[in-house]
C-alpha cells in the first residue's frame, strides 16, 4: 500500500450526509476480480446521466475540480455495505483523503488498509471548510504525522487518529506481514484453544 505522510491537494466539496457505498460504487461494478480500475465507476449514478454522458451538475464533473485529491463531505460517510471497492474506487480516481465529521466503521477500516486517509474533523471545522468551498476551489495540506489539515491562509485543524492506524499508514505497511511476526502467538493460541474442524 502507498504510504501516506504529507499531502497537498485540491479539495472537492460533496455536500451530502450518509453517502452510502452503493452511491460510491454501484453494485453493477462489483463483479470485477481485480483491485484496480474502479475509479471510472466512482459515484457512477451521480456522475453520469442515464444516457451515459457526464452530469454537468455533479461537482466532480466541474472543470474547476478536475484533479481533486481530497474529498470534503458530511457525516456517516461510507455507510452500508462492506465493499472495499468503495475505497478502491476513491483511491483509483485519485483521492488520497476524505474529510468528514464521521465515517461508517467498516468503510473507515477499509480506507486505512488502502492508504486512503479518513480524516475525522469536528462538525464546526467541516462547516467552516464548506463555507470556504463556497468561495471557490482551494487546496489543503494534510500532515499525518502532525495530525493537521492546513489551508494556505494558515488556518489549521487538528484531527485524531488511532496511533496504530497512523503508524501503518505512515509506513504503508502490509497488515499480514505485521501479523506474521506474531505467528508463535497464533500457534500458542491454537494449542491452548483446540478447535475441531467445523466444515468437512
Amino acid at each position: 500500500m502507498q504510504p501516506f505522510d504529507v499531502h497537498t491537494g485540491l479539495v472537492v466539496p460533496l455536500d451530502r450526509a450518509n453517502v452510502d457505498t452503493d452511491q460510491i460504487i454501484p453494485k453493477q461494478f462489483l463483479k470485477r476480480v481485480e483491485r484496480t480500475g474502479f475509479g471510472q465507476f466512482l459515484f457512477y449514478d451521480w456522475r453520469y446521466l442515464p444516457d451515459g454522458t457526464p452530469n454537468p451538475d455533479f461537482i466532480l464533473n466541474q472543470a474547476a475540480y478536475r484533479g481533486a485529491t481530497i474529498l470534503l463531505t458530511r457525516e456517516n460517510f461510507g455507510s452500508g455495505s462492506s465493499r472495499e471497492h468503495a475505497p478502491w474506487a476513491l483511491a483509483d480516481y485519485g483521492f488520497r483523503a476524505v474529510l468528514a465529521p464521521s465515517f461508517a466503521d467498516i468503510f473507515y477500516n477499509n480506507a486505512v488498509k488502502n492508504g486512503l486517509l479518513p480524516v475525522v474533523l469536528p462538525k464546526s471545522a467541516i462547516e467552516a471548510l464548506f463555507d470556504r468551498a463556497a468561495e471557490g476551489p482551494f487546496e489543503a495540506t494534510i500532515d499525518l504525522a502532525a495530525q493537521t489539515v492546513a489551508l494556505s491562509d494558515g488556518t489549521t485543524y487538528a484531527f485524531d487518529i488511532h496511533p496504530e492506524h497512523q503508524r501503518r499508514l505512515l509506513r504503508g505497511e502490509d497488515d499480514i506481514a505485521v501479523t506474521e511476526r506474531y505467528l508463535a502467538s497464533i500457534e500458542a493460541y491454537e494449542a491452548a484453544h483446540p478447535l475441531p474442524p467445523l466444515v468437512k
Binding site: 452511491q23 442515464p50 455507510s79 455495505s81 465493499r83 464521521s102 477499509n110 501479523t179 497464533i186 484453544h193
Partner: protein, 483 residues
C-alpha cells in the same frame, strides 16, 4: 468502559495478542466467503505465496450473483467469471464450497445458522456487512472488507480495536401485527442510521427474549443499518432448541458440553455498557420506509413527512432529495402509496418463517397479485428453505396467486443478478437497504415485513392500521406457525 458483558467475554476468550498499539489480535472461529468480496483476497494470497490457515474453519457459498430462475444459466460473463474464480480458489486453497449443485447452498447468512455452523460464543466474519445476522446466536459476528478477508484467510486472525458496547433494550407489549422487521425499522427510525457507529449492540429486554430465532436474526441482521458493526443476543433455550440436531452442530456428549458452555454466555447482572438505549414497542405499528435510507420510515397510520418538519439543514436537504428520488409528495398517506414490484426474500426476511407469514397473508386475502403489480418475486434464502417451504405447500400458495417462485440467492436485495426493478419502479421489498439504485438504477425501494409485502402484492398498496390489525396479525407477526 464496557465490563462483564457477553461481548467482553467473547472478546477475552479470543485474544491472541492484546493491545499492541491499542489494537487486539483476535482469533476467528468461522470465516464465511462468497463470490463478490473474495477474488482479490485470494489473488493477494497467491501473489504472496500464502495459504489458507484454517480451511476447516472457512466456508464458501455462491449467492450474490446467481440468477434465480435457472442458477446454471449465467448470461452475464463477468458474473460467471466471478463464480468460476471462486470455484477455482476454493479448489486451490482447499476451502469447502456449497456450489450451485449443492442442496445446502443459499445466502451466506441464511445457511450459516440453518446448518448449525453458526454457534454461540464464536467469532464470525464475512466480507459482507450483514454478517451481524449471526449475532442472534450469541456469536460476535461482523462484516469485513476484502483486505481483512485476505488477512483472515492467511492468519485466521484480525486486528481490532477493543469493542464498545451498547445495550439495546426492546421492551413493552408487542401488537400481534408488529413483526421483528417493524421493530428493527422502528428502532432505526427512532434513533437514526448512525447511532450504533463504533458500538456492538447487545439486544435485551422481554420482547427480544420472546422472539423466535428467525425474528432475532432479522433484528441482528439490520444492526448495520443503525451503524453498528455487530449486534448480538445472549443465547437461551430458544437458541439451543433451534440449533439441536442441525447438520454441523455438536452431537451427543459434545452437544451437552457445548450447551453447558453456551448457557454461561450471558452478561453479568452488574455488567457495565458504554451506552444504553431503550425502545418501547407498545405503541409501534407496522413500518414502511418512504426515503432512501432505512431510518426514513413511518408507521402505517402515518404520512410522508415534509422536509420543513426537520430543523437540521443537512437533514432537511436529505429529506428533500429523498422525496424527489422517491417521487413522493409530503403528506401522502403511507397506505396510499402504490407499488409496481414486490420482492420477498434476502438474508433479512428469506427464512421459512418469513415465507409462512407472507403465504398466510396471501391465503387470508385470497385472489391474485394486483394488476398494477408487474412482478412479485418470492426468493427463498436457501435450498433448505425452499425444500421445506415446498414440503408445506407454500410454493403452491404463492404460484396460484401469481407470484414467481424462485431459486435461492440474494436476488433483488441488491440486484447484482438479473433480478432488478426498472427505473422509476416502486418496490415493496423485505430486504434491508433502500439506498438510491439499490434494486436497479433509479428504482424506488420501500422496506417492509414479509406480511406487508404480501399485502402489497395482492392489493397494490400498503395496508393501513385497520387492515394491518385484521390481516397482518393473522400472520402472527411473522411468527410463522405452519400455514
Amino acid at each position: 468502559m464496557s465490563r462483564g458483558t457477553i461481548v467482553d467475554k467473547i472478546w477475552d476468550a479470543h485474544h491472541v495478542v492484546r493491545g499492541d498499539g491499542g489494537l487486539d489480535l483476535i482469533y476467528i472461529d468461522l470465516h464465511l466467503v462468497h463470490e463478490v468480496t473474495s477474488p482479490q483476497a485470494f489473488e493477494g494470497l497467491r501473489l504472496a505465496g500464502r495459504r489458507v490457515r484454517r480451511p476447516d474453519r472457512t466456508m464458501a457459498t455462491i449467492d450474490h450473483n446467481v440468477p434465480t430462475d435457472d442458477p446454471f444459466v449465467i448470461d452475464d460473463p463477468i458474473a460467471k467469471k466471478q463464480i468460476d474464480v471462486l470455484r477455482e480458489n476454493c479448489r486451490d486453497f482447499g476451502v469447502p464450497l456449497f456450489d450451485l449443485d449443492s442442496d445446502r447452498r443459499g445466502i451466506v447468512h441464511i445457511i450459516g445458522p440453518e446448518l448449525g455452523l453458526t454457534q454461540p460464543g464464536m467469532t464470525i466474519v464475512c466480507g459482507d456487512s450483514h454478517t451481524s445476522t449471526h449475532g442472534a446466536f450469541g456469536a460476535l459476528a461482523f462484516g469485513i472488507g476484502t483486505s481483512e478477508v485476505e488477512h483472515v484467510l492467511a492468519t485466521q486472525t484480525l486486528w481490532q480495536a477493543p469493542p464498545k458496547t451498547m445495550k439495546v433494550n426492546i421492551v413493552g407489549t408487542r401488537h400481534p401485527a408488529v413483526t421483528a422487521k417493524d421493530i428493527i425499522l422502528g428502532l432505526i427510525a427512532r434513533f437514526g442510521v448512525s447511532f450504533g457507529r463504533g458500538y456492538i449492540f447487545e439486544y435485551a429486554g422481554n420482547v427480544v427474549r420472546e422472539m423466535t430465532m428467525e425474528e432475532r436474526m432479522t433484528v441482528c441482521n439490520m444492526s448495520i443499518e443503525a451503524g453498528a458493526r455487530a449486534g448480538l443476543i445472549a443465547p437461551d433455550e430458544t437458541t439451543f432448541r433451534y440449533l439441536e440436531a442441525r447438520p454441523f452442530a455438536p452431537k451427543g456428549a459434545a452437544w451437552e458440553a457445548a450447551k453447558a458452555r453456551w448457557a454461561a454466555l450471558t452478561s453479568d447482572p452488574d455488567a457495565t455498557y458504554d451506552a444504553e438505549v431503550t425502545f418501547d414497542v407498545s405503541d409501534l405499528k407496522p413500518v414502511v420506509t418512504w426515503g432512501t435510507h432505512p431510518g426514513m420510515a413511518a408507521t402505517v397510520d402515518g404520512v410522508v413527512p415534509h422536509p420543513d418538519d426537520y430543523v437540521d439543514a443537512t437533514e432537511r436537504e436529505s429529506v428533500r432529495r429523498a422525496l424527489e428520488y422517491m417521487a413522493l409528495a409530503p403528506g401522502t398517506k403511507i397506505s396510499a402509496i402504490e407499488v409496481d414490484y414486490v420482492f420477498i426474500g434476502s438474508c433479512t426476511n428469506g427464512r421459512l418463517e418469513d415465507l409462512r407469514a407472507a403465504a398466510r397473508v396471501v391465503e387470508r386475502i385470497g385472489g391474485h397479485v394486483h394488476p398494477r403489480v408487474k412482478r412479485a418475486l418470492v426468493v427463498p434464502g436457501s435450498k433448505t428453505v425452499k425444500r421445506q417451504a415446498e414440503a408445506e405447500g407454500l410454493d403452491r400458495i404463492f404460484k396460484n396467486a401469481g407470484f414467481e417462485w424462485r431459486e435461492p440467492g440474494c436476488s433483488m436485495c441488491l440486484g447484482m443478478n438479473p433480478d432488478i426493478a426498472p427505473p422509476g419502479a416502486r418496490v415493496a421489498s423485505t430486504s434491508n437497504r433502500n439506498f438510491e439504485g439499490r434494486q436497479g438504477p433509479r428504482a424506488r425501494t420501500h422496506l417492509v415485513s414479509p406480511a406487508m409485502a404480501a399485502f402489497a402484492a395482492l392489493t397494490g398498496r400498503f395496508a393501513d392500521f385497520e387492515e394491518s390489525r385484521a390481516v397482518l396479525a393473522a400472520a402472527g407477526g411473522g411468527r410463522g406457525a405452519a400455514v
